[in-house]
């Protein structure tokens, strides 16, 4: 795969060079290939993209962001900046996006130009349906938040932590480490979400990656004694609501910022980060056969820019861009500001380990 | 007018239910005639009617209306029911509850495709037919607000409104009480005569059939056993079944002495002695014969009377039921046979008496047993 990509990249560079040469020779700007557009590094990048996007007129964005808070403001912000491009978006969870996208690709009826989500990126990459792209904004991101092959780029981060009911869990009893969770006093009082890859599998994967298989397994075996409530259908947010309502004193592996948002309103709930804190990223990818490459790149640049990332921050997401802080209400659950060590579970690792972590869950916790 | 020939319609037998249907029914109905299909339930009369209506597709046979074929089993020709120009009244009346009285009656005109009726035409025709059945003043009522008799009239009005060639009545009176039934029967007859519409009437009630019909076909087990005027059917039954089904009768068995011609007389050596009988059909000597005699045709005489000789039997009156105009006597003929006699009540015969009974040869009808 990598070899192939390298070959492809060499080919692309050669093509670029050739294009530049012929372009100079002819003295006119000829149409770029899709591959060239996606990897255009010239200083006139924005102008080239704008010119191309004007001709395209529209782009289609498949995205897992909440519509009202994030997706629509981003689309609106983008269209305000580039009024000649009409952005139409489709919202679904990662799995649904992947499903739809794969169906479109196989039917040779691709609609999406840019795809964003937490799990979808890696599925598309694994299926060999992502194409490399470049954005100058990525230079400002840590290397772990972008793919060395250029196939994906992180847009936002998620931190996973304990959420607990402050009325049911006295401040001095709040578990401060994973080992504290093994205290018999929590037997039957812990809950976690078994539904998605970001539920139980992530919890397990995080420990396996951070501690190694043996230590993780020994710990999980003990944890299984605690008779954890397997919270079924319903989102992580729903689980936090249950904790607030006093159904369960503690929820493990929920999104760290959810309790904070409710705490602001006075709800009896709080977040506790455990070390190592699992961190994942939402990513974006460009599908093979993209119809509007100029527009797609324009939107990618926008999403990764300070403006775009600020819009994400406003929607209570953690921007992947280091120089855009999250909103105050949730800023103090960022591991590095608290001095807590985080463990970035890359999209590759998340995908690779999910199945085996799920098997561990099936074996120990059902 | 209507010709039905060798009509066969078999139903597959289902567990617990006998196989019904008709197995070769033929008859003709003359123009303006009231023709009745009479028989016990399951005899095939309703099946025949539904085949004529087109509601059932026969297996084989021919149905022709005014010499135009409606169904021909040989050529697989079927005229769909809606093209047959037939009106039908159902046992349950089948009045549509979602329509008014007027709309129920107007329906056949509204769905007509052969002729497009104007609004005025429809109003006129429906009013006329409703008036005839006496429902004009209810025309705007909901059909569900009608009484049973009124619904029956409405069903008739609906069947007649487009002046069909043929009117089919499927036990139309069976859901009415006795008094209303008689009244409606008369009215049916009146309307039928007034409109001169050829009618096939289906019933299991022989009195009704006798009262209303020009001709009657008696069905049994999917076959027509006799066709004739009510008088013929009553007076000259051609089979045990007909004799028993139509009114009450006495029946005895025996052997024929000497050959008898059709319409002639013959002597039967029977279980109650030699009897001179009328033979509607010719018979050969030695044939097994049964004969029937209606209770009201038998004369009763005191034992001491001089009445003797042919066609007289002796017995003891075991029971006498007084019915007003007549009395019914049960007579025990030497312990083996019973004779039912209907005679004037004032003849001085009472229970316990021994009597002589005379079976008039003209009224003692031979049938093949």
């Amino acid at each position: 795969m990598i070899l192939q990509n390298r070959k492809r990249r060499t080919a692309a560079i050669t093509a670029c060079l050739a294009a530049m040469l012929t372009g100079v020779a002819a003295g006119t700007s000829r149409a770029l290939t899709t591959e060239e557009v996606l990897n255009y590094k010239g200083a006139d990048r924005e102008q080239v993209l704008i010119d191309g996007a004007k001709k395209e007129g529209q782009i289609v964005f498949y995205c897992a962001l909440i519509v009202t808070q994030a997706l629509r403001p981003i689309a609106d912000g983008f269209m305000k900046k580039y009024p000649f491009v009409k952005v139409s978006y489709w919202r679904g969870e990662s799995e649904a996006i992947a499903q739809k996208l794969m169906a479109e690709i196989k039917a040779n009826n691709l609609q999406a130009d840019l795809v964003e989500g937490t799990g979808v990126g890696e599925i598309v990459v694994q299926a060999g349906q992502a194409v490399p792209f470049y954005s100058p904004k990525l230079e400002e991101f840590p290397t772990e938040y972008r793919d060395s092959r250029g196939l994906w780029a992180a847009t936002r981060l998620s931190y996973f932590a304990l959420g607990y009911n402050t009325k049911l869990v006295p401040i001095d009893k709040v578990p401060k480490s994973y080992d504290d969770l093994l205290d018999p006093m929590w037997k039957g009082k812990l809950s976690w979400r078994i539904e998605s890859a970001s539920g139980t599998p992530l919890f397990i994967t995080n420990l396996r990656l951070a501690w190694g298989e043996d230590r993780a397994r020994a710990y999980l075996k003990k944890l299984a004694e605690q008779k954890i409530v397997n919270f079924g259908s319903g989102s992580a947010r729903t689980l936090v609501d249950r904790v607030m309502a006093g159904e369960y004193p503690i929820a493990m592996n929920i999104f760290a910022h959810h309790p904070q948002i409710s705490k602001q309103k006075g709800a009896p709930v709080d977040t506790k980060l455990l070390e190592p804190t699992a961190t994942t990223a939402g990513t974006m990818v460009v599908p093979k056969g993209v119809r509007h490459p100029y527009g797609a790149m324009l939107l990618a640049d926008f999403l990764l820019s300070k403006d775009g990332q600020a819009l994400l921050a406003n929607a209570e997401y953690f921007p992947a861009r280091p120089d855009v802080p999250p909103i105050d209400a949730i800023s103090h659950v960022v591991p590095r500001t608290l001095g807590v060590k985080d463990n970035f579970v890359s999209p590759e690792n998340l995908n690779k380990y999910t199945e085996s972590s799920e098997a561990i869950y099936q074996e120990l916790f059902r | 007018m209507l010709r039905v020939q060798n009509l066969v319609k078999r139903y597959q037998a289902q567990a617990g239910e006998p196989a019904g249907g008709v197995f070769g029914v033929s008859f003709e109905v003359k123009k303006g005639e009231m023709f009745t299909l009479l028989g016990p339930s399951g005899c095939g009369k309703t099946t025949t009617l539904r085949c004529v209506a087109g509601l059932e597709t026969p297996d084989t046979g021919v149905i022709a209306l005014d010499s135009a074929p409606m169904f021909d089993g040989d050529t697989d020709l079927i005229v769909p029911m809606y093209d047959r120009d037939i009106g039908m009244v159902f046992q349950s009346y089948a009045i549509w509850p979602h329509m008014s009285v007027f709309e129920n009656a107007a329906y056949p005109l509204r769905v007509s495709r052969k002729i497009k009726y104007s609004r005025a035409d429809i109003d006129k025709k429906v009013d006329r037919v409703l008036e005839m059945v006496g429902l004009l003043k209810f025309k705007n009522r909901s059909a569900t607000q009608l009484s049973g008799g009124q619904q029956q009239r409405l069903a008739l009005a609906r069947a007649l409104v487009r002046e069909p060639k043929l009117l089919l009545l499927d036990e139309p009176l069976s859901n009415l009480d006795a008094q209303l039934r008689e009244q409606m029967r008369a009215e049916l007859k009146r309307i039928q005569l007034e409109w001169g519409v050829t009618t096939i009437y289906v019933t299991h009630d022989q009195a009704e059939a006798m009262a209303i019909s020009d001709r009657v076909a008696v069905l049994d087990h999917g076959l027509i056993v006799q066709i004739g005027t009510p008088d013929e059917i009553y007076e000259l039954p051609r089979s045990e079944f007909v004799a028993n089904f139509i009114g009450r009768t006495n029946m005895f068995r025996g052997k024929l002495d000497t050959a008898a011609e059709a319409g002639g007389m013959g002597v039967v050596q029977s279980e109650i002695g030699p009897m001179r009988c009328k033979f509607p059909a010719s018979s050969t000597a030695g044939q097994d014969i049964a004969f029937v005699v209606r209770p009201e045709n038998i004369e009763l005489h005191p034992l001491a009377s001089a009445h003797a000789g042919q066609n007289v039997v002796e017995g003891k009156v075991t029971n006498r039921v007084y019915l007003g105009e007549v009395a019914e006597y049960s007579i025990d003929l030497d312990g083996k046979f019973q004779l039912l006699v209907r005679a004037p009540p004032a003849n001085g015969v009472s229970a316990g008496d021994r009597v002589k009974a005379y079976l008039p040869p003209e009224k003692t009808i031979a049938i093949f047993s």
Partner: protein
């Protein structure tokens, strides 16, 4: 007057027809439409169960492993037993309460009985997941009932809703509106004389109900049993939300749990399960169709004019009114009050004394803000109305042909009922593949969603219509035919109007379900076509329960308005049919 008969115009008859083929033309056309609509998802379902699914969603090797896993899994037997208890229990609750309501409403002079319809509409208007959530809030550890017990008796969390009875109760109660609507349309069109005859024979009202009313309404009751029972076997939301948290597995949640880890897009096991259910349904339907052989037993709409029987209860009617109110509270009132309460809270922390000082309209403000479901409401109403308007007459026609035993028409019922057992997600993926591959540009359009959701709700329409047609006395149609009407005319002018009561219930039912469906439209709708399902989904995934509740309340209010309009429009027919 013999000239009248002879004056009847002697116009050439339509050309006589030859004896028809074994399948009549309308049956062939309808079957073709049905097959085009339903075969693709069915084939997909079967394929999913027999082929491995690769991570990119394409099919891999032929395998029997999903069936093997299904039957040999660790939890198969316990799940099977749980499922059976759950299905029987919830079917029992739903049919008992629904039928009771229907009897009181249709057969007594209980004051305020007509309001039960409103109650049914309200419950159906609450999106199903929200309904479940509402019940969890009521019965939950911090819910009002447990609080009261805690305060009076000092038992903490005395009631544990995350249990078998909790699941069964919530599922059963959720189906009450369906059973009520179906039973009341059955009762409404049953001629009083049948019951009167029984009463006159000396049978007590209860006896009459058991041996006459229920017996005559058997097709309706059976249809209900079939629907509720199969739905319970197939239901996922309640077992997942309620059962899983109490470690009670039914077959669906068991499959869900054991297949979730094997790959994101692998529906193999749930496909295998659905295929098994499909076979069971085919068997049940075969048996159910035998009912129509004895159709005459159920023909309660006769040509003799029917009027439903209304029993004057005297003083007892206050008692039945109380029973209605009680049932209304159970089925609709409590969940609704709970949702209203929750929607007015900044966050939900149980029904505590403090919570009453925290009422706020903030959730509604957010909901009504720009870019919320305001924009998507029209698309959603179009989706619901089109789905119902297509399904109801279509299934009426299919059911009529099937009940009247038109050659080959039994096929229609079988095909139209197949979608009942298909999980929404499998169906949506199947339709995704169908539409995305079509040469005509249907993919992503609202029309494609309408088609898919028509298929999804076809079985419900079919059951309503089938039970309805069975009640129509054959002679009512024969009378039309002998009046000179063609089959089509008979259907339009006689059958449809007589079916009005059943069809109106069916329309409303399908409409209310179609507008709140989430997973099916979500995957099929294209970019730019906004529907409420997306908002609902977003709130479900990321919203707080208080926001979700406010959405539910707003939605229910809207549904009441829509249903009221609908009721107003169809009032004429309802009066006519009763």
């Amino acid at each position: 007057m013999s000239q009248i008969a002879s004056s009847s115009p002697d116009i050439a008859l339509a050309p006589p027809r030859r004896r028809g083929p074994r399948f009549s033309l309308p049956v062939i056309i309808l079957s073709a439409i049905l097959l085009v609509l339903i075969l693709p998802p069915t084939i997909f379902l079967v394929k999913v169960s027999f082929y491995t699914t690769k991570p990119d969603g394409s099919f891999g090797d032929l395998t029997l492993k999903y069936y093997q896993q299904l039957f040999t899994g660790r939890f198969f037997f316990s799940s099977l037993i749980n499922t059976t208890i759950y299905a029987i229990g919830s079917a029992f609750i739903a049919i008992l309460l629904g039928t009771l309501q229907a009897i009181i409403v249709e057969r007594t002079n209980t004051p305020g009985r007509k309001w039960v319809f409103l109650g049914a509409v309200i419950s159906l208007g609450i999106p199903h997941v929200l309904y479940t959530v509402a019940w969890l809030l009521i019965l939950g550890r911090s819910g009002p009932i447990n609080s009261v017990i805690d305060h009076t008796f000092g038992h903490q969390a005395a009631i544990n809703v995350y249990s078998m009875w909790g699941m069964t109760l919530i599922e059963g109660v959720g189906f009450v509106p369906l059973t009520f609507l179906l039973m009341s349309s059955v009762l409404r069109s049953t001629d009083a004389s049948f019951e009167e005859a029984s009463m006159m024979s000396g049978a007590k009202p209860t006896r009459t109900f058991w041996s006459i009313t229920l017996r005559m309404g058997l097709p309706g009751v059976m249809a209900l049993l079939l629907l509720v029972f199969i739905r319970a076997f197939e239901s996922f939301e309640v077992p997942a939300l309620v059962g899983l948290a109490g470690n009670i597995n039914v077959l669906t949640t068991n499959i869900y749990q054991s297949s979730k880890g094997t790959g994101a897009m692998d529906y193999g096991q749930s496909g295998a399960y659905s295929v098994c259910l499909l076979l069971i349904v085919v068997g049940l339907l075969y048996w159910y169709n035998r009912l129509s052989r004895h159709a005459h037993q159920y023909q309660t709409i006769t040509g003799k004019g029917y009027r439903p029987r209304v029993i004057n209860l005297g003083k007892m009617r206050y008692f039945t009114a109380a029973a209605l109110i009680l049932m209304f509270m159970l089925v609709t009132g409590l969940p609704l009050v709970m949702l209203v309460f929750t929607s007015l809270q900044p966050f939900y922390e149980g029904v505590t004394p403090e919570s009453f000082s925290r009422f706020t309209l903030e959730n509604y403000r957010v909901l009504m803000g720009p870019g919320s479901f305001r924009d998507s409401i029209w698309n959603t109403l179009i989706l619901g109305a089109s789905t119902s308007t297509f399904v109801v007459p279509f299934t009426a026609l299919c059911a009529w042909l099937a009940v009247r035993r038109k050659p080959g028409a039994w096929v229609l019922d079988q095909i139209a009922t197949a979608p009942l057992v298909m999980p929404a997600i499998v169906m949506s993926v199947a339709f995704l593949y169908v539409f995305v591959n079509l040469p005509i540009p249907l993919y992503g359009t609202l029309l494609s969603v309408i088609l898919a959701s028509s298929v999804r709700f076809m079985p419900y329409g079919m059951r309503y219509a089938y039970a309805g047609v069975l009640q129509i006395h054959r002679e009512l149609e024969d009378a039309s035919s002998t009046s000179g009407a063609r089959q089509g005319n008979t259907f339009l002018r006689i059958v449809l109007p007589l079916l009005a009561a059943a069809m109106i219930s069916s329309w409303l039912f399908i409409f209310l379900l179609a507008v709140q469906a989430v997973s099916l439209p979500l995957l099929l709708v294209g970019p730019g076509t906004e529907i409420v399902a997306v908002t609902l989904f977003d709130l479900w995934q990321n919203g707080q329960v208080t926001e979700l509740a406010s959405m539910g309340i707003t939605w229910v209010s809207l549904m009441i308005v829509v249903s009221a309009c609908f009721h107003f429009v169809t009032r004429r027919y309802q009066v006519m049919a009763s």
